[in-house]
Amino acid sequence: MRYMILIYGDSDVYATQTQEEIQAEFAEYMAFGEEARKRGVSPDVGDALQHPNTATTVRVRDGKTLVTDGPYAETKEMLGGYYILDCKDLDQAIELAALIPGAKNGMIEIRPIVTDYS
């Protein structure tokens, strides 16, 4: 089954990270990717996202495209990155999610991907 793995972190930490910290975290994520591949689950796709203050929202209402800055969530928890993992089952997805560096400070949401539209 394919799962979208959403990585949430603290937006304050994210905004104030030093260059060294960013690099150390990047190395941890590389190690995670390696570990996942070792377990037979190579991340199909996965990226880190820029800070939410770079986000733009688009809506179409009455045929008009409305573009706004944001959204800025009230919570400190922000979406910081994601993976798409093809796992045997939820237990394997949970096991891998627990290895993602972001799980230690933030949290990981596991969402099964719809594959059958019938």
């Binding site: 045997k88 089952d89 939820l90 237990d91 096991e95 596991i110 099964p112 059958d116």
Partner: protein
Amino acid sequence: MNHPNLHATIEATFQRESRKVIAHLITTYADIELAEDALQDALVEALDHWSRSGIPTNTGGWIMTTAKRKVIDRLRRHRALQKRLPMLVDEDDEIDDEPVEIPDERLRLIFTCCHPALSQEAQIALTLQLLGGISTEAVAKAFLIPLTTMEQRLVRAKRKIRDAGIPYQVPPLHQLQERLEAVLAVIYLIFNAGYTSPKGDKLIQTDLCDEAIRLGRVLCDLLSHQSAIGEHAESLGLLALMLLHHARRDARTDDDGEIIVLEDQNRALWDKPMIDEGITLLDHAITLNQRGTYQIQAAIASLHAQASSAQATDWMQISLLYGALMGLAPSPIVELNRAVALAMARGAECGLEILEPLATDKTLSQYYLYHATCADLYRRGNMPEKAKRAYEQAIALCDNDRERSYLMKRLMHLI
């Protein structure tokens, strides 16, 4: 032929026997709703077929084979499900003559029902429905939840198992301890719902206790047959604990359904064979050398069960066991119990030495039983003024009418 009695017999037989089949259907097709629907179809056929040709000797085998055919029928009808047809058995299967109890499948299903990705309420409801023999109506009643809420909860949980890919498997060894804890917690919650609920249908409550004990037995048995796991001390400890509590069921209430506290129970009404079984299980669990909270609680219950009266109870040992429980799972309530046991063993002052410093605990100071316990010890220790104040605080915080009237009576004796 349309004989209502025969139909009732067939239905009862079917329900009883299909409990052995459902775990196999669910774990084979990995779809709870499909398995349940197929069983429903098989019941319709059984009502027709069995009332004409009689109930077959191997009812389990008949149900298994018929339900499998019904699964295939359903998959054929639903185009969306057709791609799953190849994984199915040959539809020309002869009626199965083998016994249908396959222990491993039931164990797998227990772990699915108690998976941590489901809410604990859903875990309880699923376990009772798929592994127990209790109707959804009875479960809803026992947990004081509207039937529709309970039904929705079950539907959502079953869909999540399917859609999120919750597996039907005994977890690998490195996850087993954690997952087993969840299973034991569910079984114990089912037991407690039957045991401690102050109101409700007495019959349903006894059913829940019996059901929890049955599940506990099944779990111990299934685990002991898994070579990778073997006997599990805490599962045995939980079973012992439930038996030792349930043995007191007839002595716990009077004819009007009022609770009788342990101290005042007629011990002749305790179920001696059940107590013996609990103690034997506990003794065996302890030899496995895996400490745990259920075993400690069972040990406490066994000391009560073996005492001829409250006075003759080994309170010192009980206070030590509560101390051990504090080490593994510290909580103010455990500390409260330790103080009571110590007071029984060594005198009220010794208990109060533990209780008085707890007055600053935020949870405990709002809990009527804390003040009621203090009051009781002040009374025994001949400190009527302090006892009076503590009873007044307890009465102010107590929202159970029966308990409050008991506390009022005590207070009146002091004035």
